[in-house]
């Protein structure tokens, strides 16, 4: 192998680095109008009247739409959202009207000129209040504000309790976090003269998007073409349809013009989805030696005013409660409740950061009770290749033990763990945590498959048309590598087409760390078929034994001897006899199953594992936590591209550190208090610590070249490792994120570790 595992720069890198890449916000088409949305000023109110007369007077305005002007079709996972809100608003994001105008400023001015009269309704801001008897009903007919519950169990928790020598119990509170994509949400909707709709969209799921959008705007899916332009980040935020997207379609339809909507940064903070906030109550037990006996989890999720994918994160979280380490008995119960807060979507890790924070914090507590090193307790309970978990997850490859040992070694665990360093006002400590996540997609639909077409033209240029989607994670590059490897051509001979539903075959979309695995296997099938076709043709043409032929350096080879050039052979195929094209296609469906009603079943064909060891420094007088180093070991199956893998790991770790230390979208009474980068604190380059990374190669038997997905993995266990390190440094256990200086100082004072400086 020559390309697999190499350090190959991303194909889209130069364009992005030089500013040549054009994003949707750069894209203007002739006749295009700008759409701006008028949102609610209230979090829960009846809309008494909407007066758009002043908006229509603004120069340059082509259309002003309210709920009365469109067929308002309910949509979303709970079918509880609509593009425009007519009679009632339920959260601060709510779309009341939309304007299309010649300029963005005219549209914004018209929006401001719309007069809305409200009659406030009693609001609900917490899950606890939402579930109280007699609480205000946020959606008529959804009694008890309880759209969803999730229940899962294996084994017998009572037996697990009985088998336990030690039991720990606690509550964990996880915050709202937002994606902070560098490119804000955007869409361009344009109808052609035959009524076909082209959506230039940032969606992560173009084919499901066509189907869902068609239903919302009253069209046939085949009349909708989705074009996916280069994207400034997604991280899960574009997995669902949000109201602004059908609104753009309605505006385009009403004005007979292309309409583009681009969120302002403020709008992005207030109105794009968040990571699901929640409260987790967990009991964990182990025997006298430290072997886990049971986990019993109860979760309360704030659904916000409407349902998006955040409400379905329990599906992923239960895998961590049931299957991260060997857990003989597990129980999981979740309530998802409507409130008048903003609603959450999908976000890299899909609930797993939250679940892992609770599980891995309690592993340290159990280790302390037993009196063993946290590393030893984890090694004692970690699974091996070939094991099947209580939930039915089958670990056909499992490098968890290697991850634990490698992270410990990279971090200098044993020496640092032995004595937490103390230096005046500063204390140091190390902590660790591991993760388990799907590594080859998740079969949540009937198909989790992906189609590919490989063609080789008469000049030897190879084109891969893949159903999959690149949202910046680098799948285009990795897929090109795989095809180039099989066909024995250089990277620059392969072109990947992945951005037009009129051209590309079906794929579920980019989520669940599935693209390298599923689209990779799919591309490999088509590439291998193309290879077979080439070798057969060469064998026939030159009357050579096919088994002795291979592809390398752009040639058909027989041993070290060049038989024919690839392009020449393709031309011969085209122009000789009846002629033949070198085009192959494939469909790959992973060997996973849709889980049953009790959530049992092997939902992914393989699983990703990882361990992070984190060293921190805590300033006692300010509560400031500084991360000194992160040592991350990940079971990636096989390294496909060492450079882009490191990029994924580093990006994920930094995202996890932001979740741990600084990032919180602060919501008070349903309103966003910090809708700007000034007050929403992303980590910036100077605070990013050294990140040591080791790839554990378990060579997954089903993965392309042995690889498994790792897109979400590196963000998942950071927070738990940081909290465990802070505990090691200070002796104080923090169960609420982020670990802001104020929260930490309050905790240190409350625990008596430091004296109140004001006392």
């Amino acid at each position: 192998m020559t390309l697999i595992g190499a350090r190959i720069p991303k194909l889209d890198g130069p364009g992005k680095a030089t500013g040549e890449t054009r994003y949707l916000s750069d894209l203007e088409v002739p006749g295009m109008l700008h759409g701006v949305i008028r949102r609610s000023d209230r979090v829960h109110a009846r809309i008494v009247s909407v007066d758009v007369s002043k908006a229509l007077e603004v120069s340059g305005v082509h259309a002003v739409l309210t709920a009365r002007d469109i067929v308002n079709v309910p949509f979303g996972h709970g079918k509880d959202n609509t593009p425009l809100k007519g009679d009632r608003v339920r959260c601060i994001r709510d779309e009341i009207a939309a304007v299309a105008a010649e300029t963005e400023s005219a549209a914004a001015e018209a929006c401001r000129a719309i007069r809305v009269e409200y009659e406030d309704l009693p609001p609900v801001f917490t899950v606890e209040d939402a579930l109280k008897p007699g609480a205000p009903e946020i959606h008529a007919g959804r009694a008890g504000n309880l759209p969803f519950t999730y229940d899962y169990a294996h084994g017998d928790v009572a037996q697990g309790e009985a088998d336990s020598a030690h039991v720990v119990e606690g509550e964990f509170v996880l915050q709202f976090m937002t994606h902070c994509c560098m490119g804000t949400s955007a869409i361009l909707a344009a109808f052609d003269s035959e009524g076909r709709l082209t959506l230039t969209s940032l969606t992560q799921v173009p084919f499901l998007y066509r189907r869902d959008m068609a239903a919302i705007v009253g069209m046939s899916p085949e009349d909708i073409r989705v074009i996916q332009p280069p994207i400034g980040g997604a991280f899960g935020s574009k997995l669902d349809i949000y109201p602004f997207e059908p609104i753009a379609v309605h505006l385009a339809r009403a004005t007979r013009r292309p309409v583009r909507i681009v969120f302002s940064r403020h709008e992005e903070f207030v109105s794009s989805p968040t990571r699901q906030p929640m409260r987790v109550r967990l009991r964990s037990g182990c025997d006298g030696k430290g072997r886990l006996t049971f986990r019993d989890a109860q979760l309360w999720l704030d659904n916000g005013g409407y349902t998006s994918w955040g409400a379905t994160t329990p599906f992923v979280m239960m895998q961590t409660f049931s299957s991260l380490y060997r857990v003989p008995h597990a129980r999981f119960h979740t309530k998802v409740a409507y409130t008048n807060n903003p609603y959450s979507g999908s976000f890299r890790g899909y609930g797993n950061l939250q679940a892992t924070f609770a599980v891995e914090s309690q592993l340290d507590l159990l280790a302390e009770k037993v009196g063993v090193d946290p590393l030893e307790l984890r090694l004692m309970n970690s699974q091996e290749t070939g094991e099947k978990t209580g939930q039915g997850l089958e670990f056909v490859s499992c490098g968890l033990r290697d991850c634990l040992e490698s992270a410990a070694e990279m971090s200098g665990w044993r020496a640092k763990r032995a004595s937490p360093a103390l230096k005046g006002n500063v204390r140091r400590g190390v902590g660790m945590a591991s993760m388990l996540h799907v590594g080859g997609g998740a079969k949540i639909y009937r198909s989790d498959g992906c189609g590919s077409v490989v063609s080789i033209d008469d000049f030897g240029k190879v084109t891969l048309v893949t159903g999959s989607t690149d949202i910046g994670q680098g799948s285009e590059t990795v897929l090109a590598q795989m095809v180039a490897e099989v066909l024995g051509v250089a990277m620059d001979r392969v072109k990947v087409i992945n951005s037009d539903t009129d051209v590309k075959p079906w794929d579920v979309g980019v989520h669940a760390s599935r693209t390298s695995y599923v689209a990779g296997n799919s591309a490999l099938l088509a590439a291998n078929e193309a290879k077979a076709k080439l070798l057969t043709a060469a064998a026939d043409l030159y009357e050579l034994p096919k088994g002795e032929l291979s592809l390398s350096g752009g040639f058909i080879m027989r041993g070290a001897e060049k038989v024919d050039a690839l392009d020449k052979l393709v031309r011969t195929l085209h122009f000789t006899g009846k002629g033949e094209l070198l085009v192959t296609h494939s469909y790959f469906e992973p060997a996973s199953v849709k889980q049953d009603a009790g959530f049992f079943g092997n939902v992914s064909p393989t699983y990703a594992f990882g361990t992070h060891a984190v060293e921190v420094e805590v300033e006692l007088d300010t509560g400031q936590v500084r991360v000194l180093a992160v040592s991350a070991a990940h079971d990636v199956g096989k390294v496909l591209n060492a450079m882009s893998l490191e990029g994924q790991i580093e990006g994920g770790v930094v995202m996890g550190l932001g979740y741990s230390l600084t990032e919180e979208l602060k919501i008070r009474e349903g309103k966003v208090l910090n809708p700007s980068f000034r007050d929403y604190h992303l980590l910036t380059a100077p605070e990013v610590p050294p990140i040591h990374f080791k790839a554990i190669e378990t060579e997954d038997p089903s993965g392309p070249f042995g690889a498994k997905g790792v897109g979400e993995a590196p963000a998942i266990c950071v927070a738990a490792a940081v909290a465990n390190a802070v505990h090691h440094a200070t002796g104080v256990r923090f169960t609420e994120l982020p670990l802001t200086p104020e929260r930490v100082l309050n905790g240190l004072i409350a625990a008596g570790v430091v004296r109140d400086p004001l006392a």
Binding site: N425, T622, T662, K666, D679, H681, T684, P686, E742, L758
Partner: protein
């Protein structure tokens, strides 16, 4: 902003002319790091006077027993200047913790003063350094104000109609001077202070002389904590005295709860930062004793 509302004079006289007949609400544009944020947020001003080309605002020199800093001097230039580091270490330290490299290359000393943010880092240092701010206008000539006379409240200054900040004069630090700047924040860059403390004092014959302690982001204006200064003046620095001064400072500040932190945490930070600063002073004294200097 309308087209006629933007002027870019080539010299000080032109700037003063542009300000002299300016409509109410006119703002001076220098680095634009605060003003552009307001503009992006939709705020409009009847006139903007861009002083980027006014060379008279670019002085940076030792002159007449003081460090003279032109209002148009950028934070990045302060950081590059050896005289600033030597004669006004506190200003240099504040500049070093100021925003990010990008912002530092645009933001100016005059802008930081006139923006009148309670969290302004340079203003805090200039207050502790007892700097004088020189204002000029076409009608009124020159007048000079202390920092606490210039900055009256959030976004509010004593600048009169037609007046422009020309220079800031910072007394040169004596050899016995000790300067220390402390600022909160998880991020070394781009942090708006939750609290900041600037300390300037001298230690002569083992005693604290003319201590000036200024606290940022804990009152409507950068605030001198006079009771804490009084605790220190004329006394010998000891851990007990440091404790007393830290508590006095924390008591006198008037912080608020906001999205960045609670008032209680800000008070605790003031105590911690005053303690750190004075402990550093004590340590520096020990070092100078030990080396016999």
């Amino acid at each position: 902003m309308t087209e006629q509302g933007y002027v870019r004079p080539d010299n000080l006289a032109g700037a003063l002319d542009a300000l002299a007949d300016a409509p109410e609400g006119t703002r001076v544009l220098a680095g634009g790091t605060d003003l552009m944020v307001h503009l992006r947020a939709g705020k409009r001003f009847p006139r903007l006077v861009n002083v980027a080309r006014v060379s008279e605002l670019q002085a940076l020199r030792v002159w007449g027993g003081a460090l003279e800093v032109g209002a148009g001097v950028t934070v990045a230039r302060l950081l590059r200047d050896a005289e600033v580091r030597r004669h006004a270490a506190l200003l240099w330290q504040a500049a070093d913790r100021f925003a990010s490299p990008l912002v530092r290359s645009r933001a100016t000393v005059g802008g930081n003063l006139v923006n009148a943010s309670p969290a302004a880092d340079l203003t805090l240092a200039l207050l502790a350094l007892d700097a004088r701010v020189e204002l000029v206008s076409r009608a009124g000539g020159v007048r000079s104000l202390g920092v606490d006379e210039l900055v009256l409240g959030p976004g509010k200054t004593a600048l009169g109609a037609g007046e422009l900040v020309r220079t800031v004069r910072v007394p040169l630090a004596k050899p016995t001077a000790f300067h220390h700047f402390e600022k909160s924040g998880p991020r070394p860059a781009l942090e708006i202070s939750v609290a900041a403390v600037a300390v300037a004092l001298r230690i002569e014959d083992g005693r604290v002389v003319e201590p000036r302690i200024a606290c940022g982001a804990v009152a409507p204006v950068p605030l001198r904590v006079v009771p804490a200064e009084q605790v220190l003046a004329g006394r010998e620095l000891t851990p007990a005295l440091i404790e007393e001064a830290a508590l006095a400072a924390a008591k006198v500040v008037r912080p608020i709860d906001d999205v960045r932190a609670t008032a209680l945490y800000r008070r605790r930070l003031v105590a911690a930062f005053v303690r750190r600063s004075l402990t550093a002073a004590l340590d520096s004294q020990r070092v100078s004793h030990a080396t016999g200097s």
